[in-house]
């Protein structure tokens, strides 16, 4: 029986920029930042109130898991905003929206009333999009 998710991946185009976005703008915490040799880096962050879920900020780069063609295809798709990577939740969407906007986070959709609460959509620094939701209690 599967019990939990411990790791998940967000594919990013620049790990330094992703670090700044996820840590300094979204307020995530760095869980692991380990050098893996030859410029490779294992970088994981956790949502502020979910320290057991590691989100790997996985660099799309040639070598290891990706060949040159895959890198080109993935880079194009990520930049195009093809991938919806996750749904994040917050206690108060309007406040979180105002705060993230003031930090320069780009929103595709402003807070909108949905049947389950409120939702907005934002983009990370690579082009991945996320839902940011406030769920009715």
């Amino acid at each position: 029986m599967i019990t939990k998710i411990t790791h998940t991946c967000i594919y990013v185009l620049d790990q330094n920029s992703a670090y700044d976005f996820y840590v300094n703008k979204l307020g995530f915490k760095v869980h692991t930042d380990a050098p893996m040799g030859e410029g490779a880096r294992w970088l994981t962050v956790t949502p502020p109130e979910q320290p057991e879920l590691e989100i790997t900020l996985f660099l799309v780069a040639e070598g290891g898991m990706f060949d040159e063609e895959t890198v080109q295809i993935m880079t194009t798709l990520i930049k195009k905003g093809t991938f919806g990577a996750a749904v994040f939740t917050c206690k108060d969407l309007l406040a979180t929206y105002e705060e993230l906007k003031s930090k320069g986070v780009v929103f595709k959709k402003p807070p909108t009333k949905e049947f389950y609460g409120y939702e907005a959509l934002f983009l990370d620094d690579s082009g991945n999009w996320f839902s940011l939701a406030q769920i009715n209690s």
Partner: protein
């Protein structure tokens, strides 16, 4: 119209929260924070708590402790850290840190230092093997 008023109100509370985020290292108090939001003290505390789940003062303490953890992990001394997060005295800083984090600043720092060393010396301990193998990091 009501919606615009609500947005305006949110902007003011968020402004106050960001003021704490930016000025936690300075000698700020509730008066400074209320000034940022242009609210009466009572109204401000009530609204801030309803949005962020803690009073502005508790949020300031929490922010200072979170920043202190980052500074200690980077190797700053307890004294340096206490000053850098806005405390006048390292003793009161250490007391508050222990109350919030459940351990002394120096004990926290030792654990962080040990983990950082392990990460540098044997990073594979921190990576699920499937990713390590697929990336050729185990060779």
């Amino acid at each position: 119209m009501e919606q615009y008023e609500k947005i305006y109100l949110y902007k003011r509370i968020v402004k106050a929260k960001l003021f704490i985020d930016d000025h936690y290292a300075e000698n700020i108090d509730l008066g400074n924070i209320c000034d940022q939001a242009n609210f009466s003290r009572f109204h401000f505390i009530r609204l801030f708590k309803s949005i962020y789940g803690s009073t502005p003062n508790n949020y300031l303490i929490k922010t200072r402790m979170e920043k202190a953890k980052i500074l200690l992990a980077k190797g700053h001394s307890v004294l340096e850290t206490s000053i850098m997060v806005g405390f006048d005295s390292p003793t009161s800083f250490a007391g508050m840190f222990k109350r919030i984090a459940g351990q002394t600043p120096s004990s926290f720092q030792k654990k962080q230092h040990a983990q950082k060393n392990a990460m540098q010396l044997n990073p594979l301990l921190f990576v699920p093997n499937c990713f390590a193998e697929n990336n050729g990091w185990t060779k």
